[in-house]
């Protein structure tokens, strides 16, 4: 790796830490209470160039690779997980356009990804983990495609301006098209009132006869399943990083508190029961970090990384919920109070046992990968 790349990565993470400490972390608790990003928050994030962090330089981005991109999200999540998940949703979508988009589509869309948030939408009321259960369609009319359907539970739904949407182009054929909020027939629907990651908007889009040309097809007709799987893989690496960040946050809260608090006349740091919990949090955090970094390294090297990405998310999400629970127990009554962030860290982590494929689905994917060896 060139020396300049390492130096640039160091400088990037230094900037990310500085920005997180000054601009993101102070909004962590208010964001959870309000259930939204504060006014101007996303604009400042955009103006500081975060949306283009992994976008290739030829499209106006910074062009950082998978490993440092994931680590940047880990560091952001140490201040606030919602901000990191919003970037995760944007980055995984850019990744699919980079992997499957034609040069013309990339040139048309990607320069604007520095200023506009992108989202990937698969889930519908009739199908989440079962993509063939979806009802949205793209039907051919003359030289155009007519897209109709209703997508729900989209990360950044309502905030994003560009959406990759999974639709049926034939009864047994899934394809992905790119639509824009400014297209006639596009509208936003309900925003979910989720219990965790409350800053990140998760919402619905309604597509009522949106007309697009062939150039808005991502990949080829019938590539929908493959593109959807790829989007999941990329998202799972980044979620492993976000979960690591949540556990770093847990660990800091737990150790800071234990250093100050006494039980009777003994500091918590001298109690074996505290040792056990702090060590478990630290081990869960480190193993998740190793898993997401391993998956990101494989991705950077052009090797298969689907199984490792599933491990990072499956292991990381359960670990982060447990780490939050241990942290809460160390803080006892304070941990159970909404005045402190621990309880919302558990709610934030819990979201990732479901989003981008449930942990049950992750385990099936990991097991099937092992059976096929």
């Amino acid at each position: 790796m060139p020396v300049t790349t390492l130096a640039a990565e160091k400088l990037l993470l230094q900037m990310v830490d500085d920005y997180t400490a000054r601009e993101i972390a102070p909004q962590d608790m208010p964001m959870d209470a309000a259930g939204d990003f504060p006014a101007g928050f996303i604009q400042k994030l955009t103006d500081t160039g975060f949306l283009g962090l992994m976008l290739p330089q030829k499209f106006g981005g910074a062009g950082f690779g998978p490993e440092v991109t994931a680590t940047a999200l880990n560091h952001i999540a140490q201040g606030n997980a919602s901000t990191a998940v919003t970037l995760e949703g944007h980055f995984k979508t850019i990744d699919q356009i980079l992997k499957f988009g034609t040069p013309a589509l990339q040139q048309q869309l990607l320069p604007s990804a520095n200023d506009r948030i992108f989202a990937f939408s698969m889930t519908e009321a009739s199908g989440g983990s079962n993509p063939m259960g979806i009802s949205s369609t793209a039907t051919r009319e003359g030289d155009h495609w007519i897209i109709t359907g209703d997508k729900i539970m989209i990360t950044n739904g309502g905030l994003a301006q560009v959406y990759c949407v999974l639709v049926k182009t034939a009864p047994k054929e899934l394809s992905v098209f790119v639509v824009d909020q400014d297209m006639p027939g596009f509208s936003f629907g309900k925003r979910e009132d989720f219990i965790g990651l409350r800053g990140t908007p998760v919402g619905e889009i309604v597509m009522d006869h949106i007309v697009v040309d062939d150039d808005h097809l991502l990949g080829k007709l019938g590539d929908g399943g493959k593109i959807g799987d790829s989007a999941h893989d990329d998202a799972r690496i980044l979620m492993g990083a976000v979960l690591t960040g949540i556990m770093e946050h847990d660990l800091k809260i737990a150790t800071d508190y234990a250093k100050e608090r006494k039980a009777g006349d003994k500091p918590l740091t001298e109690l074996q029961v505290t040792h056990r919990k702090v060590a478990d949090i630290a081990m869960r955090k480190e193993t998740t970090k190793l898993l997401y970094q391993r998956a990101a390294q494989l991705k950077a090297a052009g090797q298969p990384y689907s199984e490792e990405a599933a491990m990072a998310k499956a292991h990381g999400s359960r670990s982060a919920v447990s780490a939050g629970d241990d942290t809460l127990q160390i803080l006892a009554g304070y941990g159970y109070s909404r005045e402190y962030p621990v309880e919302h860290l558990i709610r934030d982590a819990r979201a990732m046992e479901i989003a981008e494929g449930t942990v049950e689905k992750m385990r099936s994917a990991i097991a099937n990968a092992e059976f096929s060896k």
Partner: protein, 263 residues
């Protein structure tokens, strides 16, 4: 217009020890960051550049090789180039010897209209290098500027903020200005500009690259002798409480001041 911003890399931690022999700060092995006040100076230069497309911003620092990191950070904020003055001959310099080398480097850069400094470095807190450089360059200087603007083709106007007063000063260019943190909020380097900064020129000048009088360099050129570093003992003063009603208290105060012949 050419602007030079002098920056210093300072230890990231407050946990700095004193070298028991030299009584100077021992910065060895400590991770460094750009002196926070210097970021205000870089931001000011970049704002002048934003308003004047022809402006060129060059960062200048003196120290070991790893000081290049702070120069690179400033270039990622938007500066055009960096110059690092690094040589064993410069080691151990006090503010006078540092100011001398920096002034010689500013002369070598050439055609510099404005030299900016942060008000002081947070590790040694002297605030002396900027004024010393101005003296070596025989240029007007404004210290503690809380605002700064180009007020004419060849002049700057600054509001100088002191403890209990404000002064508005005008200086003809070329000039040296040190700035306060009230001046601005430094911009973050964007991820893209971080990457692009590595294509910008960062030059290292060693002893032989500059026109220097060796007697003014390093410890030999540093008249400062640190004999002892200590926290001063707190001065204990006798307190006389004023009691009673406000009128009685005022009467006691006047009496006490008269007794001390202060009024």
């Amino acid at each position: 217009m050419k602007i030079v911003v002098c920056i210093k890399q300072v230890p990231e931690t407050n946990d700095v020890t004193i070298d028991p022999v030299t009584h100077n700060l021992d910065r060895r092995g400590l991770a460094g960051v750009m002196n926070p006040f210097d970021k205000n100076a870089v931001e000011q230069a970049l704002q002048l550049k934003d308003a004047n497309n022809d402006a060129e911003v060059v960062l200048l620092s003196m120290g070991p090789d790893d000081y290049a990191e702070s120069l690179r950070e400033g270039m990622a904020m938007g500066a055009d180039a960096g110059v690092l003055l690094s040589d064993r001959a410069f080691a151990g310099a006090d503010t006078l010897a540092t100011g001398y080398v920096i002034a010689q480097a500013v002369k070598q850069i050439g055609a510099v209209d404005l030299v900016l400094f942060g008000r002081q470095a947070v590790d040694a807190d002297t605030g002396q290098v900027g004024p010393i450089v101005a003296e070596f360059l025989h240029q007007p200087q404004i210290t503690y500027a809380a605002s700064l603007r180009l007020s004419g083709p060849n002049e700057v106007t600054a509001e100088r903020l002191l403890e209990d007063t404000k002064q508005t000063l005008v200086a003809t260019l070329p000039a040296v200005v040190s700035v306060r943190s009230e001046l601005n909020t430094p911009r973050y380097p964007t991820p893209r500009n971080i990457q692009l900064s590595f294509a910008k020129p960062l030059t290292v000048w060693h002893h032989d690259d500059l026109d220097l009088d060796d007697s003014r360099l390093g410890q030999a050129g540093s008249p400062t002798i640190v004999t002892k570093v200590y926290a001063p003992e707190p001065v204990k003063r006798e307190l006389t409480p004023l009691t009673g009603t406000p009128t009685e208290a005022a009467s006691q105060l006047i009496k006490a001041l008269k007794h001390r012949q202060l009024i």
